[in-house]
Amino acid sequence: MIYLDHAATSWPKPPAVIRAMADFCDHAGGNPGRSGHRLSLAAARIVYDARELLAELFGVPDPLRVIFTANATHAINLALRGLLRPGDRVVTTGIEHNAVMRPLRALEAQGVRLSVIPCAADGTLDLHEASAVITRDTRLVVMNHASNVSGTILPAAAVARLAHAAGAWFLLDAAQTAGVLPIDIQALGIDLLAFTGHKGLQGPPGIGGLAIGDSVDTALIEPLVRGGTGSRSEFEIQPEDCPDKFESGTPNGVGIAGLRAGVRWLLDHGVEAIRDHEFELTRTLHEGISNIPGVTVYGPQDAARRTATVSFTAAGRSVSEIGLRLDDEFDVLCRVGLHCAPAAHRSLGTFPGGTVRLAAGAMTTLDEIQAALAAVGHVVQS
């Protein structure tokens, strides 16, 4: 079986991730921060250590500002709904996932003013267009680091500079890039970083987070959920301390333990080394698909400007038929359709038909890419 759906979730996970989750259940089964006994402490240590590792990975100055959430969507909702008020102006791009667009459309209905920077047909963003849209009354700019459809990498540092010049915060959705591209929130100028644990970070589903830079006063962020935190228990008012303000209820300790092992695996291997590996895969995949007659590939030509996610369509073939045949006849697993990103597909010109998306990951081999290319060639030409 050839798994090319890493943009949806990475698979297989490093064995250390699975071991860490089993170990958590066996040896650290207490509720972190709720009790003082050894099992609760063991769990709390793992949770805190995971915060430190994520802070190290993303260059977050204060590990207590790494907030655990269920996934990137939850983190994006926390940032957008926590910071934006009716009358505020928010800017996004034309290549976003519904994780960004749906909360923004809901906020728009509540009086938040929304502007979208148009993207080119390869998903790229023109900085002159961006600077024209990011005006001085902008409160926040939210953008994905790379498209989950076309793999297009967006210029995070440059857009962060435009946001800051306008006095706005910059929220980066790193669902497709955490663990795939080097991310240092201080070097890139990211005020808020939303990430998920189950893709490039090699962890399990159900765990993600929001890293908040020192540039954002957390008193301004409304929590999405309020409740027990194990702290300031004598009060019925939500505490203001990070991370407790944003982490009510028992955390996903098993997920955090798995994510911690995933981030350790990443730090041991080095994000740069993984990026080099995926760059080679991307180049082969992109060139190979582009050379198949009758196939249209979306996104930038230059492999340096894309992640290992490649979307294509084939003349006269529905994407669902291609996906089914790749799975049934060639054991190639991919994702077809709109990928929860209608806005991105509109920019790419592939709405509503969608695309076939092949997404490689850290565990993918060059042999698998070659075999998948042969399979795609066979399916679209027979």
Binding site: G33, R51, S231, D244
Partner: protein
């Protein structure tokens, strides 16, 4: 002379940060449920040998660990 001291915290995360910091310094400490005589925000407290008060204070300050208080105990 008191045998022990306790450090109190606002959050479990700060308590964990303190434990990690002081263990790295080689100090003998133990995380305990916060003694009921102290009104504390966090259920966990850090117990240390009172004779090591200076090292504990310096370590927590240097690592920028937010605490809710330090008290002699026991």
């Amino acid at each position: 002379m008191n045998e022990y001291g306790v450090v109190l915290f606002h959050t479990t995360s700060s308590a964990m940060r303190a434990e990690k910091t002081l263990l790295r310094q080689g100090l003998t400490i133990k995380m305990i449920p916060t003694p009921r005589e102290f009104s504390s925000d966090c259920g966990l407290a850090l117990r240390f040998d009172w004779s090591q008060l200076a090292a504990v204070s310096e370590g927590l300050t240097a690592a920028n660990v937010e605490i809710a208080g330090v008290h002699p105990w026991g």
